[in-house]
Symmetry: C3
Subunit: 164 residues, 3 copies
Amino acid sequence: MNSTPLEDRVAALEQHVRTLEDQAALYRLICSWGLAADTADSARAASLWTEDGVLEVEGAPTNGPANIFAIIDSEGQKRLVDQGCAHVQGFPVVSVDGDRATATNYSWVYLHTENGYEVWRSTANNWEFRRGPDGWKVVRRSAHVIDGGPEARELLARAFSAGR
Amino acid sequence: MNSTPLEDRVAALEQHVRTLEDQAALYRLICSWGLAADTADSARAASLWTEDGVLEVEGAPTNGPANIFAIIDSEGQKRLVDQGCAHVQGFPVVSVDGDRATATNYSWVYLHTENGYEVWRSTANNWEFRRGPDGWKVVRRSAHVIDGGPEARELLARAFSAGR
Amino acid sequence: MNSTPLEDRVAALEQHVRTLEDQAALYRLICSWGLAADTADSARAASLWTEDGVLEVEGAPTNGPANIFAIIDSEGQKRLVDQGCAHVQGFPVVSVDGDRATATNYSWVYLHTENGYEVWRSTANNWEFRRGPDGWKVVRRSAHVIDGGPEARELLARAFSAGR
């Protein structure tokens, strides 16, 4: 027999279910970035970020949705899409803490070539999220190609420093 | 204090948990397709589909479990398995609506070669599911290689048109 | 109207939520192995295993955390990390049964080269887990490269023999 009052058990369940739903929402948010990039949907890609959101790639920051929109809208990105690219997001290790969350994952890009497909990028990612009136958004994505240097290793290691 | 009657809170929790379980069941269903293909398990592969299920690859439809069985049972598929193939399914963006659901994901095929592994295919997928007496089954999988053409982009974009 | 006593409905919910949380914990455990390998975190990698844990690769067993520590701490592994490697774990098919669980998934390794990235390994995995005082740990990981031989197919097929 469980002697905890039913009201308390229901309140605990609500909290556990909320965390599971937060995790699912964050997986979807991470996947949405790749899908927006590969469909050249600049507005969608920009809308995933907070107003103060930062996309940091190989140490170089892009600040705010308008500049992130410009990346997806660029000629370079359009050439990738026209060649055939897949920005795939690996399954993340996520930590939720109230209205803040972090995630660590691998991502990679398959690129269509005359002889099939090549792995163009293999990248380490650390994400920071904030929940606002429109749900979860990305505050920062720090990404670095896995090239043997310390930067990518440092990003991956954050999976273990975040609170469970 | 939460003033909602306990009965209503429990009913709401049941609905939320059912949706989380549906998502998990659909991830399993999608992964099962790749595992069945790579183990040459034709019966298993066919059993994942409804009687009116359609597997549409590069615009060409295969109708119903018996014909899908024949694909996995074909000489071409057996050659792939004997060479060493991995039909990997990327994590999907899933939308559940009662006994109907849709999902969008990337998939790809690694093929064993004399010099390691090649990425043989990189594919965009849109899935439609229906829940019946035996649980969730696939009603339609529309797949197209990501080759720079509009077909794959259109499939990926459906992740954003489906109701949350 | 639901005529089941509220107490019973809450107990059922608790069980369902526990299973969903177990699945999430096992995804995290599987991902942690790859992250520990790529950050050369030998202590972390070893800590994921039970005292009687076995890592079996291409049929060759490594027994216990101390020997698994030595693998991640080896010169061979350090060369891979210095070259730039990503041990990516595909999404698993998981079955939880009380304090025991199993999972089947693909994994692969991207390796940085002078000309981008190569797929160095594409591997079939079957995992066995046990829950103890410190949570879930790995009892056995059986891994085999997908090279067209029967070993990898047998590992993948276990996804279908485990009880749901």
